[in-house]
């Protein structure tokens, strides 16, 4: 597979703190790479270094086989970025905002006109072309932010948490738009706090913490990293301590956690655990309301690898 980005031993330090610590990875053509990590893990710093916005102490960055520098204008032509913060002009309409940013890449007015229309269609802002950013909801504003970043049809796109604080409709629109961009041949680097998004759209995931890669691979590869194979959640009231301790001795159980009427039992092997547990409740006359079983999620992997929730 063709390498679009090659990063070797990238190190970025702020005084004595390493924001990125000897980072090496590749991004391949046509893939969506998910960058996961808690706040301050180095995701945005990595992107800013790749884009030559931030300087760094060590390492090399190659994009499309060429070294990336601030004056790599030919490379920049093929890059699109959707920043975490909405980067648009309050004084310009939706159409004008997209035209302004697209115009920094595309000289030809006719070509630009078509590209703007395509971008507006992709993010579903057809009815809002003449609206000013102040007149848009948070979700629509995020969509405009995306349109401004991708209107010139770049081959490599960075999405830095594009769905923060958006409504479900806009989120679905954004995610389907990203899928469309990939289908059209773009390579995408996607950072987010939302595990479910990563599971939906990313081909490969890299988990960063303290500026280092702590795990990387496809979603199924990552899930194998955790001991947990099954997680059973039970809504149950008034469970006693001795009953909880007894459950810890059940077959395949790794851990039992009971808080606020919710019992969570994690198993290391995932076969027939649920029927056996229901049988156990029946036998011990323990009444429960709801019971359901889940396979481990990326969040479980993340929690196990970093010791903290992704949204911490």
């Amino acid at each position: 597979m063709k390498k679009i980005i090659e990063i070797e031993h990238l190190t970025k330090e702020y005084k004595e703190k390493k924001a990125i610590d000897d980072l090496s990875f590749n991004v391949y053509e046509g893939e969506i790479l998910g960058l996961l990590g808690p706040n301050g893990s180095g995701k945005s710093t990595t992107i800013n270094c790749i884009l030559s916005l931030l300087n760094f102490q060590k390492g090399s960055i190659q994009i499309f086989g060429q070294e990336m520098t601030p004056s790599s204008y030919e490379i920049k032509k093929e890059i699109g970025v959707v920043f975490q913060e909405v980067a648009v002009f309050e004084e310009l309409t939706v159409y004008e905002n997209i035209d302004y940013f697209c115009g920094l890449y595309i000289k030809n007015k006719e070509q630009r006109k078509q590209l703007i229309e395509d971008a507006i269609q992709l993010v579903g802002l057809e009815q809002y072309k003449k609206f000013y950013p102040k007149q848009l909801s948070g979700g629509l504003l995020r969509r405009l932010n995306i349109a401004c970043g991708i209107a010139h049809k770049p081959k490599l796109i960075f999405f830095d948490e594009p769905t923060v604080a958006v409504d479900p409709q806009s989120r679905n629109n954004i995610l389907s738009g990203i899928e469309t961009l990939r289908k059209n041949g773009a390579t995408i680097i996607y950072t987010t706090h939302y595990m479910e998004e990563v599971e939906i759209i990313c081909d490969r995931v890299m988990i960063l913490d303290h500026g280092k890669i702590i795990a990387s691979g496809t979603i199924s590869e990552l899930k194998k990293l955790t001991q947990i194979e099954e997680k059973v959640t039970v809504e149950i009231l008034g469970l006693l301590e001795k009953e909880i301790n007894k459950m810890k001795e059940l077959q395949n159980v790794i851990d039992v956690n009971y808080q606020n009427g919710l019992l969570i039992i994690t198993y290391k092997k995932g076969e027939n655990n649920l029927p056996k547990l229901m049988e156990y409740f029946k036998k011990n006359k323990i009444n429960y309301q709801k019971i359901y079983s889940e396979r481990p999620t990326l969040n479980d992997v993340f929690l196990e690898l970093t010791g903290k929730e992704l949204r911490d």
């Binding site: 030559s52 931030l54 004008e96 920094l104 970043g149």
Partner: protein
């Protein structure tokens, strides 16, 4: 890159023209302030019609300095052009009168400080002008008299001709002093000069805001522009050209308004007035670029700093009263020599008060040097392509 230049130029125009706060500070505020000056000072001027100024002269210059004496005689002659009412006395008595405010000033040719005033008011200001004129004339006449040919012609053989010269200078001096209290040349003109200076410097806001959108360390829009293939040089240049054009439009509106609506007369050197304004606008733009590139602060903070610096500069150059200009000129002259607002104000002032343009061009050169310094320093900051943090 030409396409990108004009693309950014077009949108910088749009962004600035649609920014209400920018338009207020650079277009509306000077016009509002000008209108307020017009209302406030026209009334004051009516009340402050020129009066004969009482002064005391110690060590009667008649004995020692014929030139000064001739001047004083002419200025105190009892006719419609009389400016001074002179009482000759000793320093002690004169000081007593000054303390009692019976006189506005003491003229003492034996002292290094020829003119002593107690306070700063219109009379004192006029006295200062008059003394400056006399000093200049004294130097001129001394030069003429020291030349043998001139001495022969003007002083010894043709005394009348010398007096004609003195009369001519006296007329000019008297006229320019008298003009201070007329509508043609009022001391409130200083207010209008500082108003123009303020507008020129407020133009820096346009440059500052326009530049912010091109710099990655100034916000997300700047980041987005920085990762585009359009060069930083093209972006900054076109943003500055757009800002400058808008600044010129704004100052033209102010001139139009003050000349045609408020009936302000900017004098006979209108082209030089325009030249100074154009340079002043460039200095304002340079100040905006400097603040935008050198300071790592929020847009609001930078705007506040620019407004404060400009207003303070205008205050020192006499916007809230001409007295301040003279206080600074007298006590901290260096401050006014590096204060762009004062250089612009003083440039206009020099055009109005002096027949020669020497002082005017001195101000112009100082402004150009400050502009070069600001832009040069800004370039050092703007050359940065990557940042330590964002």
């Amino acid at each position: 890159m030409i396409n990108m230049f004009f693309h950014n130029l077009k949108y910088t125009f749009k962004i600035i023209f649609k920014s209400k706060s920018l338009i207020f500070w650079t277009f509306a505020f000077p016009i509002i302030l000008g209108t307020m000056f017009s209302f406030a000072f026209s009334d004051i001027e009516k009340k402050e019609q020129f009066e004969i100024i009482d002064i005391a002269v110690v060590n009667n210059p008649l004995k020692e300095n014929e030139i000064w004496n001739t001047f004083l005689k002419e200025l105190s002659k009892e006719n419609e052009n009389q400016i001074l009412n002179i009482q000759y006395t000793d320093l002690k008595q004169a000081t007593e009168w000054l303390e009692q405010e019976k006189i506005s000033g003491i003229l003492n040719l034996d002292s290094e400080e020829v003119l002593i005033v107690k306070k700063n008011g219109i009379n004192e200001t006029i006295l200062k002008f008059a003394m400056e004129e006399m000093k200049q004339t004294e130097t001129l006449l001394k030069t003429i008299i020291e030349s043998p040919e001139e001495k022969q012609m003007l002083f010894q053989q043709n005394r009348n001709k010398l007096f004609e010269n003195i009369e001519k200078i006296r007329q000019e001096t008297t006229n320019s002093i008298k003009d201070i209290s007329t509508n043609n040349m009022s001391y409130t003109m200083i207010e209008y000069y500082t108003l123009i200076a303020m507008t020129c410097l407020y133009g820096g806001l346009l440059g500052m805001i326009a530049l912010q959108k091109d710099l990655a360390n100034m916000g997300s829009v700047g980041k987005r522009s920085s990762i585009s293939p359009t060069t930083k040089k093209t972006m900054i240049l076109s943003s500055m050209v757009a800002s400058y054009i808008i600044q010129i439009i704004g100052i033209s509106l102010l001139f139009f308004y003050t000349i045609f609506i408020l009936q302000v007369d900017y004098g006979n050197h209108f082209f030089l007035v325009i030249l100074l304004t154009i340079i002043g606008c460039l200095t304002g733009l340079a100040l905006g670029i400097f603040l935008a590139s050198a300071l790592k602060a929020s847009e609001n903070t930078k705007t506040g700093i620019l407004l404060a610096v400009t207003m303070f500069g205008c205050f020192l150059s006499g916007m809230m009263g001409i007295t301040m200009k003279y206080v600074v000129d007298k006590n901290i002259p260096f401050l006014n020599q590096i204060n762009p607002a004062n250089l612009i104000t003083d440039g206009f002032y020099a055009l109005y008060y002096y027949d020669t343009t020497e002082r005017f061009y001195k101000n112009v050169v100082s402004l150009i040097l400050i502009t070069i310094l600001l832009i040069g320093t800004s370039i050092i900051f703007l050359r940065r392509q990557t940042y330590d943090n964002l």
